[in-house]
């Protein structure tokens, strides 16, 4: 409805043309990424000469760049624990920040915001020392804890925004109806912030999946290698067995979940910036 009335008044063609022009380099790069991973081209030529699946050998031939499945498993563990911890702690923490009359609430809110604004890199040395001291250095748990901690301020603030948009009266009505505060939260309030939870969950997954710095530095052991680190290791240009097309294939393999998630959830991700509007 809205769409058709817009095209009637304004032609979309100029907008599409400009957007298309700006996006073109990206499209070309992605296209060649995909094409190159499935083909061979003669040296010095860009045009592929034959179709092949040999660049995808890394999926079963671990002698090429290492075992990709262990890295995938590690990445999935990191991403999913990120989703779970972020959702559980943000949905409860955000509610507390939005609704409960906590002591030092304003201080909490402000410090959470400061945490969010803090560049993770500057914390690395301190985090390293803490992990080393607690014996969590070079372990998945350590990476999860640190990554989760850095993710939470964002999650709590986002969820607080969504909770703020839920009318107080709904909770009062629930309490009057005889429900406990917990039941009210779980059965009446939580469903109202579902768009926020979905968006935050996807965001947490993408963030965990894409994390490179923390696992690289805090868990350098081969057992805890995640896909981003694996990808980097697959691309040491000086190595004798360096194969650029295999690197591209690993790259696609690594990007694929992100693309799928984004295509499926793009509308819901935008919810985060709407701050609680129901969609």
């Amino acid at each position: 409805m809205q769409h058709s009335s817009m095209t009637r008044n304004f032609s979309m063609i100029p907008v599409l043309a400009v957007l298309g022009l700006v996006t073109l380099p990206l499209v070309v790069m992605y296209a060649f990424l995909v094409i190159d991973s499935f083909s061979n081209a003669p040296a010095t030529s860009l045009i592929p000469s034959e179709f092949t699946l040999e660049h995808w050998r890394f999926l079963y031939d671990f002698s090429l760049v290492g075992n990709v499945w262990i890295a995938t498993k590690n990445s999935l563990i990191l991403a999913f624990t990120m989703v779970v911890t972020t959702l559980v702690l943000s949905s409860t923490g955000g509610y507390a920040m939005s609704r409960l009359n906590l002591p030092f609430r304003r201080f909490f809110l402000a410090s959470v915001l400061v945490m969010h604004a803090f560049p993770a890199v500057t914390l690395l040395i301190g985090t390293f020392l803490v992990l080393n001291f607690t014996g969590l250095y070079n372990s998945m748990i350590g990476v999860i804890l640190v990554k989760g901690t850095l993710m939470l301020p964002f999650g709590i603030w986002i969820m607080k925004g969504f909770y703020d948009a839920v009318p107080w009266e709904i909770e009062m009505a629930g309490v009057q109806d005889g429900a406990s505060r917990f039941t009210v939260w779980r059965r009446l309030v939580l469903p109202q912030v579902k768009p926020g939870l979905v968006a935050l969950g996807v965001f947490a997954f993408l963030d965990g999946w894409g994390e490179y710095l923390l696992p690289r530095i805090l868990a350098p052991g081969a057992d805890f290698e995640v896909l981003s680190v694996f990808l980097q290791d697959a691309a040491i240009p000086d190595a004798a067995d360096y194969n650029f097309n295999i690197f591209k294939s690993v790259g696609i393999f690594y990007t694929l979940p992100v693309l799928i998630l984004f295509v499926v959830f793009q509308n819901r991700l935008m919810n985060i910036f709407g701050g609680g509007t129901k969609g």
Partner: protein, 351 residues
Amino acid sequence: MQLTLDKFTKSFGDTEVIADMDLTVRDGEMLALLGPSGCGKSTTLFAIAGIHRVSGGRILFGDRDVSDLPSQKRNVGVVFQNYALYPHMSVAENIAFPLEVAGQDRATIKREVQAIAELVHIEKLLNRKPAELSGGQQQRVALARAIVRKPAVLLLDEPLANLDAKLRLEMRSEIRRIQQETGITAILVTHDQVEAMSMCDRVAIMNEGEILQIDSPTEMYRAPVSRFVAGFLGNPPITFVEGVTDGRGDVDLSGLKLPLPARLEALPAGRAVTLGIRPEHFGVARGLPVPGVVRFVEPQGRETLFDVALDNGAVLRSIQPVRQDLSVGDAVRFNLDTEAMLVFAETGARL
């Protein structure tokens, strides 16, 4: 169930909003808490609901002191101004929620929901979501949810404020019908005197955290205790004119003399009083003719409202059955029913 507020006090921080308020709502009665915004009527309502803690005094349901009970254990039904329906649940689920929380079995819940839906006439809407209902229908659902548990008291917080004029009229009588059919004790909070007077057995008029008068609507309209109460009730409102008694049974309105009602003829001279004249008592068949000039004519369909400027500059309102023989600027002599005039002392109390 009878509801009693015994020396109820509520303060927020250092500000005392309500001090030592006593109020009894009889079993099965519908009482209106009427007052301007900020008078403490909603605070009182929320204290009864248990949303606000009482700072002092007691709240009794029957003989049971509920002052320290949390909302969940008070069994109070509340209809909020914006209805507060649960948007993700269907109408049936909304109404069933209080029963579910109370742990009733499925068959009972289904039966109760059906019965209450029939009572409030929404049995055809049970599968809809709140967003798919009109304002009046949402109001009915909110009412059904509030009474499905058979609460000790039903509280209505400005329930008609969000409805358009026609629906408001309809829901006014509907709410009253449902209240009377269920025999539930109810408190209506409103700033609209028409709602309060038309829906309730008794009206408690509040100002600045204090109940000024509790009476039946007719009695309160006829015999308000103070100038504030008189000014709050009545549409079009009462007009006040200031004057001084002359000790001979008249009030001197600087340039105009009006006789006091017979019962007050003996007032001593030199007392500053305020006369309250309702529009229906000016322009009547019998009374004291008062000359004036029509300043404003407002046709209201069945009636016509006139603003008449008297010789001394005071403006009185007159409401009369429709007449088209007068227009602005005409000199008139309307009869004033001086016996029906309300007389207030300087303190605001009625004499």
